[in-house]
């Protein structure tokens, strides 16, 4: 609670730039929490979260690009790429409602379709991870190669207003920040409830023994599809908010490397802990912001070393560390509570 209160007051505590950073990282934390559900609980490692992050980001960015234009005009990059009409799939994004729905529906639909096709054939685990990695590569490549309609390598940038609100004013920045914070808190609460529900239990059961679950009369496929889809929706939401905060969305945010980094945030924080995922996201990104300019070479060594050490020595991540430390006190009480209840 204290943390949330501090979060609410942040606009008065930190500089505008720092607030913007915090807002970006909180947006990313939404995605990280989704990975807790997908990877930590469901055992499904996705190396393609960047794709959904990007879909969300592009959905909102497309709208803002269009909103800034006079009627009949084309976005600048289309003009200089030699396009003379708006591609049909851009047209609906003129409507802010479509764009906002698109932020969650497009990644959700893509994720549901893709994961259904793959899980249905009982392809999982490592294979799934590698296929999603290829998906990230393909998506980034596609964005870049379709420059006339996607903005290509440059991505989309230079947004002025969203639904009539002038972006870039301090008020807008505060509002967006609070919106992000509220979403983080809301998603945290909702996911915690979900994980504690029977759905959460079954998801963990499927992670443990998918076939066994089948022979208890459950079809694992929809459970996994739902988790993956929720993860994608959160990633899309994260991408949209990030785009608003950063003022740019580009293929550099969606490819193989950023997608792996997203998993790293969660690995550092603790793949089974929502709070850990938020903490991990903030910690890694703050470190990156602080260290990489001062010691660019060192940063890559440090990042590499962090992956290695966290995975080998701290499989529970920061959250695991905290839990171990608290095991004597709070942890034990919790344990007896659970056992008592189970009995």
């Amino acid at each position: 609670m204290a943390v949330v209160a501090l979060g609410v007051l942040a606009p008065w505590l930190v500089s505008a730039y720092e607030l913007n950073l915090l807002a970006r990282f909180l947006a990313m934390a939404l995605l990280a929490m989704g990975l807790v559900l997908v990877w930590g609980q469901g055992g499904v490692l996705s190396l393609g979260q960047g794709v959904f992050f990007g879909l969300g980001g592009y959905a909102i960015a497309m709208h803002m690009k269009l909103a800034a234009l006079a009627d009949g005009d084309l976005p600048d990059f289309m003009v200089w790429s030699g396009l003379d009409a708006l591609p049909w799939w851009w047209v609906p994004f003129k409507s802010p409602l479509v764009a906002i729905l698109g932020v969650v529906l497009v990644p959700g639909a893509v994720a549901a379709l893709f994961s259904w096709a793959v899980f249905r054939r009982r392809v999982g685990g490592v294979y799934f991870a590698l296929i999603t990695q290829a998906l990230a590569l393909a998506f980034a490549t596609l964005l870049i190669s379709q420059q006339p309609s996607t903005g290509g390598f440059n991505g989309l940038t230079d947004f002025q207003t969203l639904m009539g609100v002038e972006l870039g004013t301090p008020a807008a920045a505060h509002g967006l920040y609070w919106l992000t914070l509220a979403l983080v808190v809301g998603v945290f609460v909702a996911l915690r409830a979900l994980m504690a529900s029977r759905y959460g239990l079954l998801l963990r059961a499927i992670r443990d023994g998918e076939n066994r679950i089948r022979f208890l009369g459950y079809d694992p496929t929809p459970f996994k599809v739902v988790a993956f889809t929720i993860g994608a929706v959160l990633a899309g939401l994260a991408g949209a908010l990030f785009t608003l905060h950063a003022g740019v969305v580009s293929p550099a945010l969606v490819g193989v490397v950023p997608s792996i980094e997203m998993v790293i945030w969660v690995a550092v924080g603790g793949r089974n802990s929502l709070a850990g995922a938020i903490a991990g996201t903030l910690a890694v990104n703050l470190a990156k912001d602080g260290v990489s300019s001062a010691f660019p070479d060192l940063w890559l060594y440090a990042l590499g070393l962090v992956f290695v050490l966290v995975v080998t020595l701290l499989p529970g991540g920061l959250a695991g560390l905290v839990a171990d430390a608290g095991a004597a006190g709070l942890g034990k009480r919790l344990k007896t509570l659970i056992i008592g209840e189970a009995k």
Binding site: L21, S145, N154, T157
Partner: protein, 373 residues
Amino acid sequence: ADTVKVGVLQSLTGTMAISEVTVKNAEILAIEEINAGGGVLGKKIEPVVEDGASDPAIFAQKATKLVQDGGVVTVFGGWTSASRKAMLPVFQKLKSLLWYSVQFEGNECSPNIMYSGAQPNQQILPALQWAVEKGYKSYFLIGSDYVFPRTANLILKKHIDADKLKVAGEEYVPLGGTDFSAVIAKVQAAKPDIIFSTLNGDSNVSFFKQMAAAGLPSAKLPVMSFSIGEQEAVAMGPSLVEGSYAAWNYFQSLDGAANKKFVAAYQAKFGAGAAVTDPMVHGYVDVYAWKAAVEKTGSFDPEKVRAAAVALDYLDTAMGKVKFAANQSLVQTGYIGQLDPTGQFKIIWQSKGTIDPDPYDPLVFPGKKCPAS
């Protein structure tokens, strides 16, 4: 205070670091020289270096940090158009000024950016002009898959068509791509007179190697590159690319006292063999142009500096006489060089005098001009 802060924002990590670090070096060199000479308006310049990490979103983030929290009066930086596009709204919003030093695809004029890198009509079109003069009729366009190559080729195609010549093919390879087997097969099928290449970085090595292996060395099928500078040529092994052509607004081999002095200063600091390239010199010149503009207006205020910069007279620089035009791009000379075995370019052609920058190609964007500011 007796110092003034300026931002230097380049990629120190990631795929672009290799190129951008050299620009950062040149910019720092200029700052140190100016400081040694007493600074600007009596103040020492304090460079604040940030890492753009080859990621446009980080560029935007770091640009905000520099201007908003870092208290810099102007920023030198950026290489890819993606990073410039991402920074543009930041500088516009914060009413600050960015100095951008790399050749690019044009189609952009922001009052908050000084574009010293070549516009297409200062690099690509002179190269076409040269090729037409040489009698080449059939052109094959190869590029890395990003904005500059695609737009450059769009402009080239219009001009090639207008000249009633032939575009034999147009192919793109993902950035960093290494497999050219299909592209070369298509080149072999199309039998062009010359290849115009906007390939970037490492891909060039793969391309030239595989061309040579397929029996198409530069001697047989000439290649005109728009992204191979001295640094790349040395690293690739000059013998691989020997005889191929490049178009720039600066070559290390240029005559002139200013260039001799610049090369000597750079090599004194970064090693005798250190190569010097076009974007580096543009970065170096940007710093001096900023100094001149500040001194002309007597203020660090970006708005005043911008106005002063476009009002400056010709500066005598390592790349010859240059000045900023009213559209905030640089008036400069176009050169064609041919690679010799040492990795230096022999200058074989140069434009008749300086070329005025033209952000909007008249064939592609008839009638479009930068809004007068």
